[in-house]
């Protein structure tokens, strides 16, 4: 259950360590809110009469996280997730802004469908920005109306769930997206190389007798798309990078000035293909969980900035869909509520990088990828904060989930780093 409390009067967040995006530092600051509006941020603010004080001495305070890759299933599959339940899961995980993917039923491929999402803002706990389909009906043939759709509020264009398969359509999409200077967001996967692959092609897939999707089914597509983006000079964003080879390609492309950005999911930073040995269908994801070498390269990519954003690819599925055999179960896992705990464990606890860098990939660079406002700690604006304990060890359980779906392989896992509260739109939201 989420607890929401309307903030009235003065609230002082006292003695918290505050993540400062501009300097990428974490320093002690006191924050003063009045009716949920940020009124002060100083090294020390005196407590005065009538001020409610929240002791944040063992807390990190950060601008609210942004997840640029979620699936909220509305319209069409509200049994799995709605905009309401999805944004509840988001704030429970510390995300106050999300970008939802267009593979709904019908797909978000018109300005009207974009408005349908955007007009729901006020009733939802998190800010929500739709990514519109790159092609009509996500069929990979005709471009959607990028100009009007962007004007209606879409932040990018993607056929996610499937790649823009042909090079010619990808070229046209990247060219046409230059009109609105929005990214074309690619689910990079060569379907013919993937063939009937159900997991990463490896020793494990061979041992399990499951058809494998080789790492090259991702890297060949990433290579192709980078080449096209470089040729036409457009903005390309690669979703859920899963292979060491793709990280290398993106790193090299960035070094020579290609406008390419990339994201990685918490589960690809934490789990290898060994997790599939249980035949637990919640480990069936697309792209699949890869090898230890890939996981190490992804972690390094986050640390050195090759990978811009950590995005959950939160993909809710109904229980009955996942309680099938491995071939029939749809790919995807939920990820919003476990994201911070997984990422801190994968990156900070294992000393790959520091908490500042993790927060940068959850707060700043996702917004840069989608060109969302970088308005952190703006005085006289509604406070938008995520308050967390980076050292809290906790066991992730089904009851921590606010999504309508429950498909996660992390139940029972000990995670590190926990969201304690979110302040957004003058509400204090906690889930404990």
């Amino acid at each position: 259950m989420l607890n929401t409390k309307q903030l009235t009067g003065k609230l002082l967040l006292k003695d918290g360590q505050v993540y400062l995006p501009n300097s990428s530092k974490i320093e002690k600051r006191d924050l003063l809110l009045e009716n949920g509006i940020l009124k002060g941020m100083e090294k020390s603010i005196e407590v005065s009469d009538g001020m409610e004080v929240m002791d944040c001495s063992d807390r990190i305070i950060s601008p609210g996280f942004t997840d640029i890759h979620v699936h909220f299933r509305e319209p069409g599959q509200e049994n799995k997730e709605t905009l309401k339940s999805g944004t509840e899961a988001a704030v429970a995980g510390g995300f106050t802004t999300v970008c939802c993917m267009p593979n709904t039923e019908p797909p978000i491929d018109t300005q009207e469908s974009v408005r349908f999402i955007r007009q729901r803002q006020e009733e939802l706990l998190a800010e929500i920005y739709p990514v519109a389909a790159a092609t009509k009906g996500r069929k990979g043939k005709e471009l959607t109306e990028y100009g009007e759709i962007a004007a209606a509020g879409a932040v990018g264009f993607s056929d996610d769930g499937a790649p823009i398969a042909t090079g010619q359509v990808m070229r046209k999409a990247l060219e046409y997206a230059k009109i609105v200077d929005k990214p074309v967001i690619q689910h990079a996967e060569d379907l013919s190389l993937k063939a009937d692959g159900l997991m990463h092609e490896s020793k494990v897939s061979t041992a399990l007798g499951l058809p494998g999707a080789p790492a090259i089914s991702e890297t060949t597509m990433v290579y192709r798309d980078i080449q096209i983006a470089e040729y036409v000079g457009a903005r390309l964003h690669i979703q859920h990078v899963s292979t060491a080879g793709a990280v290398e390609l993106i790193r090299a492309a960035k070094e020579r000035g290609v406008k390419v950005t990339a994201e990685v999911t918490p589960h690809h930073l934490m789990l290898t293909d060994e997790a599939v040995r249980t035949f637990d269908t919640s480990t069936k994801v697309n792209p699949p969980l890869r090898s230890r070498k890939d996981v190490d390269a992804l972690r390094k990519g986050v640390a050195d900035g090759t990978i811009d954003a950590i995005a959950t690819d939160h993909a809710p599925h109904a229980i009955e869909e996942k309680e099938q055999t491995f071939d029939l179960a749809p790919p995807g896992m939920i990820g919003l509520e476990s994201a911070l705990g997984v990422v801190v464990k994968a990156l900070v606890d294992s000393k790959i990088t520091d908490l500042q860098t993790v927060l940068e990939r959850l707060v700043v660079s996702p917004r840069q990828v989608m060109q969302l406002p970088l308005d952190f700690y703006t005085l006289d604006n509604s406070a938008n904060l995520t308050i967390l304990n980076p050292e809290e060890e906790w066991v992730f359980r089904r009851e921590h989930v606010h999504s309508r779906s429950a498909n996660s392989p992390f139940y029972g896992s000990q995670l590190e780093g926990r969201v304690k509260a979110v302040i957004h739109r003058s509400q204090l939201i906690t889930s404990e």
Binding site: T206, A207, P211, F279, E323, T325, F326
Partner: protein, 315 residues
Amino acid sequence: MSALSQKHMLGLEFTPKSDIERVLETAFSFREVLDRPVKKVPTLQGKTLVNLFFEPSTRTRLSFELAEKRLSADTLNFSASASSLSKGETLRDTIQNIEAMKIDLAIIRHNTPGAAYQLSQYVDAVVINAGDGTHEHPTQALLDMMSIKEEFGHIDGLKIAIIGDIAHSRVALSNIYGLRTMGAEVTVCGPPTFIPPFIEELGVNVSYHLDEILPEMDVINVLRIQKERMQTALIPSLREYRALYGITRERLSGLDKELTIMHPGPLNRGVEIDSDVADSEHSIILHQVLNGVAVRMSLLYLLLGGQEAKGGANA
């Protein structure tokens, strides 16, 4: 309580040598039962078993049914096409319906890897994997091992080749796991499009050249070639396959020793194996079939609590 170290028989990847030895030893004692005029013992009287066949199978199903009948178990047969599952009924629904009938042991054949493992997560009953897609088929491998042991008296130290479509076989992995556990050296041989990537990491030798490996082998286990593989461009023609990998009398006659020849059946005579080879005195294909019943009797008996390997036959 199982007399083995594991409750279920889901595969041989993690089955210890002691369990395999116990199953084989008990199977040899059950072989004696099959040679008697009255081929039935009351060992599993009062136990209820269900045969869950989600895809067609003739040999394995008949072999299990016969083993169950020889042990006097009560049996149910459940057949469902995998397609009915895709119409909304989940594997778990099916399982729960079956378990509500208080079954002691379930034998499952399914076209998806992991189905038997998943079943074991959902039910209290003992589960035997009778083939889950291209994953494992442990009872086939056990009967293969029994047949090799019958022929040679031992398995360790033997050089055994598995020849053909390794990637799409339900037999190959269980054979690899079991034979390696028992100390054999295993080589897989076939065209590269039939060899799963990374299989050498499972501890086997890989060859694409049959004539190079045959002189070294003691046993060859020849797998069936499914003709539809041609349509998926994995092999250009059956004619060329036979030329490169077919087990022919001519190919074997050039060797300076006789090989023991196995095949899990059904045979594509004239494709992967010629009739005169399959029916020769060096072929133990029909022994495999008989041993299949004995191995399954042994496994049912041990998993349902039988203790004494030697006592099985007379229990």
